[in-house]
Symmetry: C2
């Protein structure tokens, strides 16, 4: 941002949007080869400029420490050689994915001879607002451009120096491959009003994707004058049916809760069928105690596990993102389904069961982006579901649901060919 | 509506929404057979109760005449035996379409053995706001329920008696086939605030679909707290390239402009390549004179067609919905594409050309829901494109673009099956 002051924000956002719109028109026609060459050369450039990246990142980390940011945030922010290598590998992986642009989604010849083709096209311009992890900057730029979209990146201020260097390195490679210069624009982080300014540009921005806390997401949904893909909270459940295999259930709960408790597809609430609760819960408590998981249970749970704390209404709604698990005993699978409908966030919910009718009922009735059967909630992830990289995991039902990869950043158009055909 | 007064509107909308949400959960699991039986029996019932429908409609028509409504609106409102038969046939056609719910969109087995299936599911609850044609009531109810959604219908007040009888007849058949009683709710038309009340219920309504004038659509977009599928204006273009076959061009323009000038996929602006303008335009003027089309042209057009009126900036933006055509001569296909990008509404745009490179350029660069090649703009229609019935033609790029049929009223979910799989 070269200008400043409140009066210039609207103009800055419009100008940035206008450039992105222009870039998007060229991007829509860019060949797959050129996009992939840019991605691969960007990977090479990241590796070649490791020390420059680490120096900028050290600057970010120092400021974050001075500002008293918590250790978890500093850990997410901090780069080292393996993490930069991870970013470079990520770029190469996106280069290896099929190009969604131009894909024929379906086609037919109508009885009158009209040839109808539904073709995949980019959405246009993405406005991405995200937290302070530098690798997200690289991923988002790559995913948007590979899917033919221009992107305006508004990352957390804590990672600004790191993100700036990364975007600059990718811009040098973009120029070499004749990628439009405004395909990826990283915008100044200082002004909070900047986000509002972009959200008022439906003419230039086709979709806003917020990733972060509830406050940010609610603000974007309230202010956006364009569609929004929300990456909202994951209050994920595992339901252990009376027909469940205990060893499977234990392994899945352990994995879903403990492997990476701070992510959106981690387990938060456990529902256990009454018929097995008194045999299953003691084994579970023993297993989770090894990881230091705090248990909070309903009244019946606490009769079986007296050391569990009392779960309140707030616990059923909580996305802990920490080593805490709420547990409720249910009398039937329908009670479990009702609980998930009432308290869940439609992100990821799992059943552990051997009974095929229970599985059918659960998968049909639970209205979540991903329903897992005898598998960990942690699998709701673009890479794990076979979609490759993702820009987020949508908790919306509209347009994109679940992992939001290359295809989810596209629309389509109908191309219809006749030989002078008219409608009768 | 049994209650009244401004204080009750919020409650009424919430209660209606809550019932729709409940119905939608049952609808999502309803068998295709039951939905189709309901549709076929509803068709039978419409035919059997012809005189009752016509009596209610006569009431609507009388009130509309007394209110001084224009003849075109009365014509859209008025039912007769062939129109009721058309509605019944429409229901049978929707019964014959494949059920989108449960369709496997894609599936794969991941290297770790996880079986991933992307399944089509209903969106949930549709809030449909539309104009005063009784047949739209029947179509919308049928399309929403067939795609597994509950619908809240808010039709124009002019057709209220007709719509009420039609919905009541369908409700009787719904009861016979155990379709949830609140699957289709027709809501009171009187209060304008009612629309606002529903638009504030994102908890109960998954998508709002407005169909009508610009004022209504802008209002819905501004107030809706849920996603919106816009059925907005169609400022449709035909570009006649220098390589065009004149006879094809004449037939297509005649059809696109004159066959049904009042609909959204009718032609509004014609772009003609300079190299052929002096030979083509006189023939066109002669042909369109037969239909009494008023021509408004750019300066160069008026040098060739002196009787054409002068086109102003407003003409390039106008959706006339009448026998008026604006004409502009362009120096190149790129100028035509630029004109469409600047003034068009991304609805339907056509090229008439024999040169394959011109066709490629036009179809790649024109960013419209439907791009027609040597075919009339009038083909942008669910039936013509092979999608069956439609609830509208989306002018959005997000979620649904172009004709909005059964599939466009769905979302999807991932169902993932393992045998105790955990993420490593």
């Amino acid at each position: 941002m070269t200008e400043s002051g409140p009066l210039d924000i609207e103009r800055y956002c419009r100008e940035t949007g206008r450039r992105a719109r222009e870039a998007s028109r060229a991007l829509a026609e860019l060949s797959t080869e050129r996009k992939n060459a840019w991605l691969r050369d960007s990977a090479r450039s990241l590796r070649a400029h490791l020390s420059r990246i680490l120096a900028a990142n050290a600057d970010d980390v120092r400021r974050a420490r001075d500002a008293g940011e918590p250790p978890a945030m500093i850990d997410r922010l901090k780069l080292d050689e393996p993490r930069v290598e991870g970013m470079a590998k990520g770029l190469e992986a996106i280069a290896a994915l099929p190009d969604p642009v131009g894909e024929v989604i379906e086609g037919s010849r109508r009885p009158n001879g009209l040839e109808v083709t539904r073709l995949r096209v980019p959405l246009g311009v993405v406005f991405f607002v995200y937290e302070s992890r530098p690798n997200v900057t690289v991923d988002a730029a790559a995913i948007c451009v590979k899917s033919g979209n221009a992107v305006i990146l508004r990352g957390g201020k804590e990672a600004m120096h790191s993100s700036r260097v990364l975007v600059d390195l990718m811009a040098v490679e973009a120029e070499r491959h004749e990628i439009p210069p405004f395909a990826v624009q990283l915008v100044g982080p200082a002004e909070r009003e900047l986000v509002g300014g972009f959200l008022r540009q439906p003419e230039f921005i086709d979709v806003a994707i917020p990733r972060g806390g509830t406050g940010l997401i609610e603000r974007v949904v309230a202010e956006a004058r364009m569609p929004v893909i929300r990456h909202h909270d994951g209050n994920c459940h595992v339901y252990v049916d009376s027909s469940a295999d205990f060893d499977r259930a234990l392994a899945i709960i352990d994995n879903a809760k403990c492997q990476r408790p701070g992510v959106c597809n981690a387990l938060e609430s456990l529902l256990v069928h009454d018929a097995i609760a008194d045999r299953f819960l003691p084994r579970l408590a023993e297993r989770l105690a090894m990881h230091g998981v705090e248990l909070r249970g309903c009244q019946r749970t606490r009769e079986i596990l007296p050391t569990a704390l009392e779960a309140t209404e707030a616990d059923w709604r909580a996305e802990y993102l920490a080593l805490i698990l709420s547990i409720r005993i249910v009398d039937s699978i329908d009670e479990a389904i009702e609980h998930i409908a009432h308290y869940g966030s439609k992100h990821t919910d799992a059943i552990v069961a051997n009974d095929v009718d229970a599985i059918r009922r659960f998968t049909a009735r639970v209205d979540s982006a991903a329903v897992m059967v005898n598998a960990s909630t942690r699998f709701n992830d673009g890479g794990e579901l076979g979609m490759g990289a993702e820009i987020g995991i949508s908790t919306d039902k509209f347009h994109a649901r679940g992992p939001c990869g290359l295809r989810e950043l596209t629309s389509y158009k109908f191309v219809c060919v006749g030989d002078g055909l008219i409608r009768s």
